[in-house]
């Protein structure tokens, strides 16, 4: 086989592998991802579907219940109706009222029930102009 053709075949093989991989990548990313929703959108969400909830913990709403916690979240811009949340599992160090969190879970009778070990609290530390202490 002449080298020109050999190179062409190699290029075609490499390109098709790349295309196949990227199709797999795109397909799985759309199926494996969880939708992110804000508390106000979740109030009307379908029960039994898993969502990533992002919101702000309402100050003073955190209650310890045994080894779990219950609290209220609001939309990040502070608007909308507050949504009750329950969560069991590790609580990250920065978790407290007024902080933004991300929590995976589903709606059960008006309450957002978080999956254990999915609570993420944003590290408030850096590059904030105003420290709200």
């Amino acid at each position: 086989m002449d080298p020109q053709r050999k190179r062409k075949i190699r290029l075609v093989v490499a390109l098709s592998v790349a295309v196949l991989l990227s199709v797999a990548l795109i397909y799985t990313s759309f199926t494996a991802s969880t939708q992110a929703k804000e508390p106000s959108e979740l109030l009307s969400a379908t029960p039994g579907t898993s969502y990533d909830m992002t919101g702000e913990v309402v100050k003073g709403s955190i209650e310890h219940q045994g080894n779990g916690i219950a609290f209220l979240v609001r939309d990040r811009d502070g608007s909308g109706q507050a949504l009750p949340v329950t969560y069991h599992g590790t609580i990250p160090d920065p978790f407290r009222g007024g902080r933004e969190i991300v929590l995976t879970g589903e709606m059960k009778s008006g309450t957002f029930v978080g999956e254990p070990e999915t609570l993420v609290t944003k590290c408030p530390s850096k590059f904030t102009t105003q420290s709200n202490g």
């Binding site: 080298p3 990227s22 494996a32 939708q35 992110a36 990250p92 160090d93 407290r96 009222g97 590290c123």
Partner: protein, 814 residues
């Protein structure tokens, strides 16, 4: 002081602009403009150093008239963290960016002051353009002036967030920044080389060390971040595929690809377009990392409040990407290489595969990181990808990378005959197979095929690398005698780049073993225990011995003494704790404020070479909080007075009344209340010890996790060896011309081939062909040098030809 700083910063901005303009005036070879521009860069560096010094002095001296000091430090902040507080702020981190860039630019220009005469002016212009951009941001963008002042001057600052008060804070951000920033140097020289069409390997040789330094800094920064997360953040992991982590990993991966593929350009003159793309990619990703932490476009555990500078940086990224792409496209004809890869079993072919793997890995991470934006674009819904999705793609790619980490060093450049390949690969393959069988038979590794594959490949790679050292040392000993250890040291110190690189490979293989083992075979349990109770986790008896508690003006600390027993013997007595901080910077009103601030976990860690035992507590403090609430209500009632006030409030009430009448007594009264509150908090705390309250512990048994840190350290040491200048360079004349560099590079290639042959990597036949080719090329170079240096500057003509004469004899003699 602050106004002096502002003036110096403005001067620095103008000197950056001036240096760029002067450099461009000298672009046709007028040395005096270029020299002046280089000195202006040194001046720029000196000015920024003064700015940093002023900020640091303000931090050290608690000068709260500086906004940056008031926001990020306080009287109580320990001195150690005051020095580090600068880069916990937006404006301070920008200043750090510009300052590190000024240092790196000065170093790069000093190192190339007698070389690359056509490229340097353009490279200077690019570096100073970027420096002017970041300095200009601090001067002109809103809210990021590091010398902003406050009036009236507050008496105390807000303080540094307790989460950031960790020794890593001192070194993790500067390391990452240095890594990000030093990617500018290879980028600037690449752009200079493209503009002047000097696209040979010279710019690569001149900036390779900076690329390596940037790679090492970025790697160390990533390692320190992982370690910090593991020991401090109370969730027990070291990597979470968080956008900010990914942002630092991506330039590191592309930088790794770049470091490999520039060797192909240096040795074979190939892959020039690819290298240009990689260097632009590395720099753009470094800028993207700088942007991501300042923008808030993506959901991350690192929340970054404002985005005043985000849009500017995004603009810079756009300019860099569009400009570089246009430049590369317009120079495609110059970048094309006539050479082809000779054989698929050669080092350059393996480098190409490893490059594709690294770029693929980066593409996956990039897609996953930005998926929320992509998904919003196509479906209108923000959706994110979690760790399992990343793992699914990165695991196989990482495993393949380990395999090629082992194969690459075993192969010689250009070609390897089947016979010699067989000879080299036998031992590593056998060891890899034996390790696989042993793991399947004696451990439960067979349940985790990916981890098993990684262990097998890592065993193969590590054996191959050990064999390389062994064969190299043996060959060296045959040539020059001495002991094996002496030969090994001589081998490494004379071939720092090659063996330093091999040490990096070994470190990465060890690191990946640690990651595979700790992520696949981890035991992670949540257990709730009362004092005195025990449970068994992964064969270890874990006993919650007793609680401890401490209160001071700053925080409540609930500690737990935990004993760990294995086979009836105590292996560790750990004292993890959870600390509740009062909010910093606001006057504390109630005892309850202890629970309104940050809470941090102090992890109990018993690290070992085979296993880490990791424990973090989540104490049930509801009783304490109830008592605190009651006490606060009591105090409020006391202060308020009126009917139904308890009798013990009498004295306090009298004092409050007196204070109301006479404001001068107010401070005394408040201090008295604070004292009483402290005493009450103490009493409540003492009560907790007898409360028998349960604590939920997160217990993790992590196998081989220590090897992640050891592997990282090995890799870093390897990088240092590869960065360290060789002896001849240090002692030799400081003036190095391009011709000298070219000559040196060719000699190194001849030496490399000789070593490969002596170590049995090249067959006699292959070596004969290769050696003849290399010597022919060397003679060509020497002839060019002898002919007066061609375009390489007149001044060195005589010296070089005298030098060339003897060298030519040397080469031809063989």
């Amino acid at each position: 002081m602050a106004s002096l700083g502002s003036v110096l910063l403005a001067l620095a901005f103008f000197s950056a602009v001036a240096a760029a303009v002067l450099a461009l005036r000298g672009r046709h070879g007028e040395r005096r403009w270029v020299d002046l521009s280089r000195r202006t860069v040194y001046g720029f560096c000196a000015l920024l150093t003064c700015c940093v010094a002023i900020i640091e002095i303000a931090f050290a001296g608690n000068d709260f008239s500086f906004n940056i000091v008031q926001q990020h430090s306080s009287l109580e902040t320990p001195a150690f963290y005051k020095m580090a507080a600068m880069w916990s702020s937006q404006e301070g981190s920008l200043l750090l960016w510009a300052w590190v860039l000024s240092l790196a630019s000065s170093a790069a220009l000093y190192a190339t002051r007698n070389r690359l005469r056509e490229v340097v002016p353009w490279a200077t212009a690019v570096m100073m353009g970027i420096a002017a951009f970041f300095t200009g941001l601090m001067l002109f963008a809103p809210d990021v002036d590091p010398f902003a002042t406050l009036s009236p001057v507050p008496s105390d600052g807000i303080g540094l967030n307790p989460l950031l008060q960790h020794p890593s804070m001192m070194i993790h951000p500067p390391m990452l920044y240095s890594g990000y920033v030093t990617t500018t140097i290879p980028f600037a020289f690449a752009i200079g080389a493209l503009i002047t069409r000097r696209v040979d390997a010279e710019w690569v040789r001149a900036t390779r060390r900076f690329a390596l330094i940037s790679w090492a800094f970025l790697g160390l920064g990533l390692m320190l971040g992982a370690r910090w997360s593991y020991t401090e953040l109370g969730w027990g992991g070291y990597w979470a595929w968080d956008p900010v982590e990914n942002a630092a990993l991506m330039p590191w991966l592309i930088g790794t690809a770049f470091l490999h593929s520039i060797m192909v350009q240096e040795k074979r003159g190939m892959l020039k377009v690819w290298n240009a793309c990689l260097v632009v990619g590395t720099f753009s990703l470094a800028l993207l990392g700088t942007f991501l932490v300042r923008s808030g476009v993506l959901q991350s555990i690192h929340a970054f409040g404002d985005n005043t500078v985000g849009p500017y940086i995004l603009g810079l990224i756009a300019v860099v990407l569009i400009g570089s792409t246009a430049l590369i496209v317009s120079r495609l004809d110059d970048l094309r290489s006539p050479k082809r890869i000779d054989s698929l079993i050669s080092r350059e072919a393996v480098f190409l595969i490893n490059n594709l793997l690294l770029v693929g890995l980066t593409a996956v991470i990039f897609w996953g990181t930005f998926f929320p934006l992509i998904s919003e674009l196509f479906t209108g819904e923000k959706a994110s990808l979690a760790a399992p999705w990343f793992d699914r793609y990165t695991t196989p790619l990482a495993i393949l990378l380990v395999l090629f980490t082992g194969i690459g060093p075993l192969l010689a450049w250009r070609r390897v005959s089947w016979d010699s390949a067989k000879r080299i690969f036998v031992l590593p393959l056998v060891v890899g197979a034996v390790v696989t069988v042993a793991l399947v038979l004696f451990t439960d590794a067979a349940h985790k095929p990916w981890a098993l594959a990684l262990f097998a490949f890592a065993a193969f790679a590590l054996t191959g690398l050990a064999q390389e050292f062994w064969r190299g040392a043996a060959a060296r000993r045959r040539l020059s005698g001495g002991s094996m250890a002496g030969a090994l040291v001589a081998l490494v110190s004379r071939n720092r780049r090659r063996y330093g690189g091999y040490i990096v490979h070994a470190g990465i293989a060890v690191l990946l073993i640690g990651i595979a083992a700790s992520s696949s075979f981890q035991t992670n349990r949540d257990v709730t225990l009362r004092p005195g109770q025990s449970t068994v986790v992964d064969g270890r008896k874990v006993t919650y011995v007793r609680p401890t508690v401490a209160v001071d003006s700053e925080k409540f600390t609930f500690g737990q003494l935990v004993s760990v027993e294995e086979d009836g013997k105590r292996t560790a007595l750990l004292h993890p704790s959870r600390r509740f901080f009062r909010p910093t910077g606001v006057p504390s009103g109630t005892i309850g404020s202890y629970f309104a601030g940050e809470a941090t976990s102090e992890v109990g860690l018993n690290a070992g070479l085979t296993n880490d035992f990791w424990i973090a507590p989540q104490p049930d403090i509801s009783t304490v909080q109830r008592q605190v609430r009651a006490a606060d209500q009591g105090f409020a009632a006391c202060v308020r007075g009126g009917p139904g006030t308890p009798p013990q409030c009498k004295s306090l009430q009298t004092m409050m009344l007196a204070a109301r009448a006479n404001p001068r007594l107010r401070a005394t009264a408040l201090a008295q209340i604070a004292r009483l509150q402290q005493a009450t908090a103490d009493r409540i705390a003492r009560g907790y010890v007898h409360d028998d309250a349960p604590v939920t512990f997160k217990v993790i048994v992590n196998p081989l996790v220590t090897w992640i840190w050891i592997g990282g350290l090995i890799a870093f040491c390897g990088a240092l060896i590869a960065i360290w200048p060789s002896r001849g360079r240090r002692r030799g004349s400081p003036v190095r011309t391009e011709a000298d560099a070219l000559k040196e590079a060719k000699y190194r290639e001849i030496r490399d081939a000789e070593l490969d042959h002596a170590a049995g990597k090249l067959s006699d036949e292959d070596y004969a062909i290769l050696d003849a080719e290399l010597r022919k090329e060397a003679v060509q170079i020497l002839d060019e040098v002898g002919a007066g240096g061609g375009s390489n500057g007149a001044g060195n003509g005589n010296g070089a030809s005298a030098n060339g004469g003897t060298a030519r004899e040397k080469v031809e003699q063989g």
